[in-house]
């Protein structure tokens, strides 16, 4: 038996990532010494804060191939997604009224679309194939002359699958439709270039890439110009698209996190991929009835999502307090519903409820992967044995009666 860790091993890097100490070091001076309001135009403290914000904006723009003035800071990807989808739809409501998105989007994209439906928009929710990817012919077929916006996430937050954004971009351009992508799980993990991919709006966030919570950004292309109705009004910051005092320490942390990611992504991707493969190989070698959810071919390296036959996720999670993982996404993990994503790829309820999401990250080491897989195999066997015992007991009881 594996000796248990006292501190749980963090394997939930899709929910949030630990803040990189280098990021924290970059942020702290902006709490302790340079505390100005970046919108104070009248004195040095304000200018210093503003300079730090603009430097971060450059680092962020560079990471996704955007221009600096195409980056709008928000409080996170949820706000950026709300701003992009509702903002574009409401601005162009008089001209076009159709939006296309996908069944496996994050809840904040789907909820924004539900809200727009109640405001009179038509929304098409494209299905995905069993591998988690879109059938591009279905996208083409769904586009009409009323279609204003297509919103497709770059990397799925539960199963890690990567949509072919450049091809989707080309289709949208061909039909003169705006393309938005929720890239919260993609930025810093796979190369992104908004110009090459022809993406008009992209939502990103800091806390999924070892930056702080509470800050994200929306990329809004200048060419073609996309206009948005803001979610909040007030002081007119961020070109009027997002009023409110910007938080320089958080912006600085976001910029630093992406600067580090830009340098370390290739090596990190390889390392995480190796660890992920180790997990899968041992799980499937040593156990039967392990299903991998979503394509392995187009997937971020740190993600593994499996369904386990004859074992429910709840019992497994309870048996594995030393592994911090999730079943489903963090935002909905408190709710009882099984994952809308796993249902969308065609999983039967029983397997959808027996799924685990493992998110490997920068601060996991190979020894962690070994520990995790040993413990997983142990407890899956235990849970299955318990279940078998219960079933056998019930069987004999029935026979006895």
């Amino acid at each position: 038996m594996t000796e248990r860790r006292r501190q749980p091993l963090y394997l939930d890097n899709h929910a949030t990532t630990p803040v990189d100490p280098r990021v924290r070091d970059a942020m702290m001076p902006y709490f302790n010494e340079i505390f100005g309001n970046p919108h104070s135009g009248s004195h040095a403290f304000g200018w210093e804060a503003a300079e730090a914000v603009e430097m971060a904006r450059e680092q962020i723009a560079a990471m996704i191939g955007a221009d600096t003035d195409e980056i709008i800071f928000t409080s996170g990807a949820t706000e950026a997604n709300n701003l992009a989808i509702k903002g574009v739809a409401r601005f162009y409501a008089e001209k076009k009224n159709h939006i296309i998105t996908c069944a496996t989007e994050h809840m904040c994209v789907l909820d924004s679309c539900f809200q727009l439906e109640s405001e009179g928009f038509k929304v098409t929710y494209l299905p995905v194939e069993p591998d988690g990817l879109l059938d591009l012919d279905k996208l083409r077929d769904a586009i009409t002359d009323q279609t204003l916006l297509v919103s497709i996430m770059t990397v799925q937050n539960e199963i890690g699958t990567i949509q072919p954004m450049a091809e989707i971009g080309a289709i949208c351009k061909e039909h003169n439709v705006f393309l938005h992508s929720d890239a919260a799980q993609a930025v810093g993990k796979i190369p992104l270039d908004v110009k090459e991919m022809q993406i008009d709006l992209m939502s990103i966030t800091a806390h999924k890439i070892y930056g702080p919570m509470g800050v994200g950004a929306l990329y809004v292309t200048k060419k073609p110009r996309v206009l948005l109705e803001p979610l909040f009004s007030g002081g007119g910051q961020e070109k009027g698209l997002r009023s409110g005092t910007l938080p320089p320490p958080l912006c600085v942390g976001f910029g630093k996190a992406l600067e580090i990611a830009a340098q370390e992504m290739p090596a990190e991707a390889k390392r995480l991929g190796r660890m992920r493969d180790l997990l899968i190989d041992r799980l499937t070698d040593e156990l039967d009835g392990i299903h991998i959810n979503g394509t392995m071919e187009h997937r971020v390296p740190g993600n593994l999502n499996i369904s386990i036959e004859r074992a429910d996720a709840e019992s497994l999670m309870a048996a594995l307090p030393d592994l911090a993982m999730s079943s489903g996404s963090a935002c909905t993990s408190a709710s009882e519903d099984s994952s809308h994503v796993l249902k969308s790829i065609g999983l039967p309820n029983e397997l959808a409820e027996a799924s685990l999401r493992i998110g490997l990250g920068r601060f996991n080491e190979e020894a962690d992967a070994v520990y995790a897989v040993n413990r997983l195999i142990e407890e899956i066997r235990n849970v299955r044995a318990d279940r078998h015992d219960i079933a056998a007991a019930e069987q004999s009881e029935r026979v006895g009666k």
């Binding site: 040095a44 409080s75 709300n82 809200q115 702080p212 009023s243 307090p321 935002c331």
Partner: protein, 372 residues
Amino acid sequence: MTAYLDYNATAPVRAEVAEAVSKALALGGNASSVHSRGREARRVVEEAREKVAALVGASPAEVIFTGSGTEANNLALSGASAGRVAVSAVEHDSVLRVAPNGIRLGVDADGRVNLTELESFLSDDGTALISVMAANNETGVMQPIQEAAALLQSHDALLHVDAVQAAGKIDISRDQMDADLMTLSAHKLGGPQGVGALIIRDGMDLEPLVKGGGQERSRRAGTENVAGIAGFGVAAELALNELDQMDRIAALRDRLEIEINKIAPDTRVLGAAGPRLANTSCLTMPGVSAESQVMSLDLAGVMVSAGSACSSGKVTTSHVLTAMGLSEAEANTAIRISLGWASVKEDVDAFLNAWGELYRRTRKQELEASAA
């Protein structure tokens, strides 16, 4: 040597706050995750919620964390759809811009809202939402919130109070201002930037601005800014415990105004007759634009502002001062000095020296010009 006197734009982060933020940043964990790391983050968020609730005498469940005071104001005004809207003419832009069609309630020469106008607005039929700020960001003038709340009693109306500037400077608990909705911001009271709160009365319906994910009881979606919220909690606790510090700050501010009056008897302290926050002074230097005053002060290392920070990038006349009856020309000569927890006598001295020198220089130039 620098003297920071722009606390109403943002206050320096308190050491205790920075420490709490730093600790929370090291913690990691998404507060919605069910594993131990997530539960730890949740505990941090809920402890902070209790502290913020205590600052206003609300229950923790009535606190909705947002990304800023601006967002909270927007959420209050567009979320609590209550038919007719009236806002005071001196509100922050984040209230005025959300209610472009709302009735503007005028203020008197001291910046206090006209309650007769409020009464007559309320006498019309239909549900209504009233937004009156607890204290103004440019002048520090405090509004008669309790009187306004009393007028609302017999009507189907909700009261929103933007308490961003008042929090930590006066008692904003429910006994003092009985609001249905109240806006707070962390960074004005020594907390971190990037976090605010809307306090709502228990059981109130509110349409969210940001949807998806179900955080904050589905009132405001998005992964909670755990570190920012932790810092907000500590700042709220300190502010509540140290309200009596305001006597010290009042003494500094009062001395500043007395000395200014000695240097320049022709200056005007705006809103001086009304009750004001003890930390704020908005004053004019006749004939000298606010822009040149703040530039000259900045060269001397003294940081103040011309109007509010949000609009200080643009050269526009303050809507607050014109609502108080100032001419555009006079309003454009007003600067704001705002003190806070770390302000000391030396800061005030530095201001008085720099401002006094500018005043004497310009008066001398005027004299020379008229003599020539």
